[in-house]
């Protein structure tokens, strides 16, 4: 680890997750570096989303270790809420707070957790809405937005806490095809700005273009990993080859 020039942001070692008798993750190890964009691809049910959700402990870990910024996140004494402030998450189904308008969606966490005053939070929220191109929707309610707009708001909401890590759980899978582009554009910009990102996705084009590293998962293990070039142009494992043949 020490030979690498960049710091390890997320260290995952031998991660196992069972749901009852169902073994979803069967020992996953990887390091995610600061500023790295890692795309996780693989068939449905391969454990990609579960893997992602373990990183901020939306799912409890059965065994193994996840260390985020030096904190062991399955440590029972850890103040998990503090760690989560630093890890933004974007969900497949947006999960915008339906009882609040867009502006209040962005302001809730920073104000409630005393990261910012109301005025600071509002100014920051407006700036973020500007960057995702939705400043004019500040007063709208989630139900009045399109899917693509909702997801851009969701990204802005996660960014409002000023995290160093962003987790994306199939952010474009629930979108109409014509709205995928606008969300990916925001994510590309984020990657360019140096955000550490872990993206579970079915958008192979995005993975190929933006990822520093691609993980191919199947049946709860990382089958193959490498640069997008290695994975997409020269896959070695037969399961990777089979999967890519089906989706590309």
């Amino acid at each position: 680890m020490t030979v690498r020039s960049k710091n390890v942001k997320i260290h995952v070692e031998n991660l196992v997750k069972n749901f009852g008798h169902l073994h979803v993750l069967k020992g996953i190890s990887t390091d995610i570096l600061e500023g790295e964009v890692v795309c996780v691809i693989g068939p449905s049910g391969s454990g990609k989303s579960t893997f992602l959700r373990c990183m901020n402990r939306l799912e409890d870990i059965t065994s193994g270790e996840i260390v985020v910024d030096g904190f062991h996140i399955n440590d029972k004494k850890l103040n998990l809420n503090k760690i989560r402030e630093n890890i933004g998450m974007v969900f497949q189904h947006f999960n915008l707070f339906a009882n609040m308008n867009v502006l209040r969606n962005l302001m809730l966490a920073p104000v409630d957790l005393k990261k910012a005053t109301k005025e600071e939070a509002q100014a920051n929220a407006m700036r973020l809405l500007e960057t995702v191109g939705l400043a004019d929707k500040a007063e709208s309610y989630p139900s009045q937005l399109s899917g693509g707009q909702k997801q851009r708001v969701a990204i802005a909401r996660a960014l409002a806490m000023n995290p160093d890590i962003m987790l994306f759980d199939e952010p474009t899978s629930a979108l109409d095809p014509e709205m995928v582009g606008e969300v990916l554009a925001v994510m590309k910009q984020l990657a360019k700005d140096g955000m550490t990102m872990v993206v579970v996705t079915h958008e192979m084009g995005f993975a190929r273009e933006v990822a520093d590293r691609v993980l191919f998962m199947d049946e709860g293990v990382i089958v193959e990993e490498g640069t997008p070039e290695e994975i997409f142009s020269n896959p070695k494992n037969p399961r990777t080859i089979d999967f890519l043949n089906k989706v590309l």
């Binding site: 901020n56 939306l58 809420n81 503090k82 760690i83 989560r84 402030e85 890890i87 933004g88 998450m89 969900f91 189904h93 999960n95 915008l96 707070f97 339906a98 009882n99 809730l108 966490a109 409630d112 957790l113 309610y141 139900s143 969701a154 909401r157 996660a158 806490m161």
Partner: protein
């Protein structure tokens, strides 16, 4: 009819006052119990969920008239014969306990169902931002859940108001109890019960109007 109204009208109105008083106490404590047990039934704690299930099933499984007799006669008698403690409950105290326990059980089910009707993604999103479980609950989940719960809560309020009539059996001087007294004197059961029925109807329709207005105003400031 007019004779009953002129002679016993004020008595029946006072009895309606007692009915409302009892209903108010019952609803107040019932709501408190409902919130406590409703939340206890959704948190990630097996013990609190089990306690909540036992409470709800116990109350749902016993008719309120039995509960009323048990609380008013049974408990003081048991306390005296088993523990040697002398205490009595007034009919208002016993009535409040019965109504509150009963209303609380049904309210807790309304609250549980209301919370569970909200997409778990709402809670997850709030937690992922670093909000604690209870903050997420109070800022994100409950405000949405309450809106869905209101029709059922209003319904429960009406049922609880009507259930006060059961407590006539332990001698609480509410409307049914007093109406029986009036009939004992006048023998005019048709007129008296008709008047009583209309009095309940008026109060409940009024309550319904208030509830409708509340629901409308909630819908207005949260266009969804």
């Amino acid at each position: 009819m007019t004779q009953i109204i002129t002679t016993y009208g004020s008595l029946l109105l006072a009895a309606m006052g007692q009915t409302l008083l009892l209903a108010l106490w019952g609803l107040l404590f019932g709501c408190i119990l409902g919130v406590i047990f409703g939340l206890a039934s959704v948190v990630d704690n097996k013990l609190s969920r089990a306690i909540s299930v036992v409470y709800v099933n116990l109350i749902r499984g016993v008719p309120m008239i039995v509960l009323a007799f048990f609380v008013f006669y049974g408990i003081p008698y048991g306390a005296r014969t088993i523990f040697g403690a002398r205490f009595v409950l007034t009919s208002l105290q016993a009535g409040t306990i019965c109504l509150a326990l009963n209303c609380g059980a049904y309210m807790s089910e309304i609250i549980r169902a209301g919370i569970q009707s909200i997409d778990p993604g709402q809670m997850e999103a709030a937690r992922s931002l670093g909000l604690s479980y209870w903050r997420s609950m109070f800022r994100v989940v409950l405000p949405q859940a309450i809106k869905n719960m209101i029709p059922s809560i209003v319904n429960q309020f009406i049922i609880t108001l009507k259930d006060t009539s059961i407590l006539s059996v332990i001698g609480f001087p509410e409307l049914v109890n007093k109406a029986q007294n009036v009939i004992a004197i006048t023998f005019k059961s048709f007129e008296t019960w008709a008047i009583v029925a209309v009095m309940y109807l008026v109060v409940i329709l009024a309550l319904q109007q208030v509830a409708n207005a509340l629901e409308r105003s909630l819908k207005r400031d949260r266009k969804k």
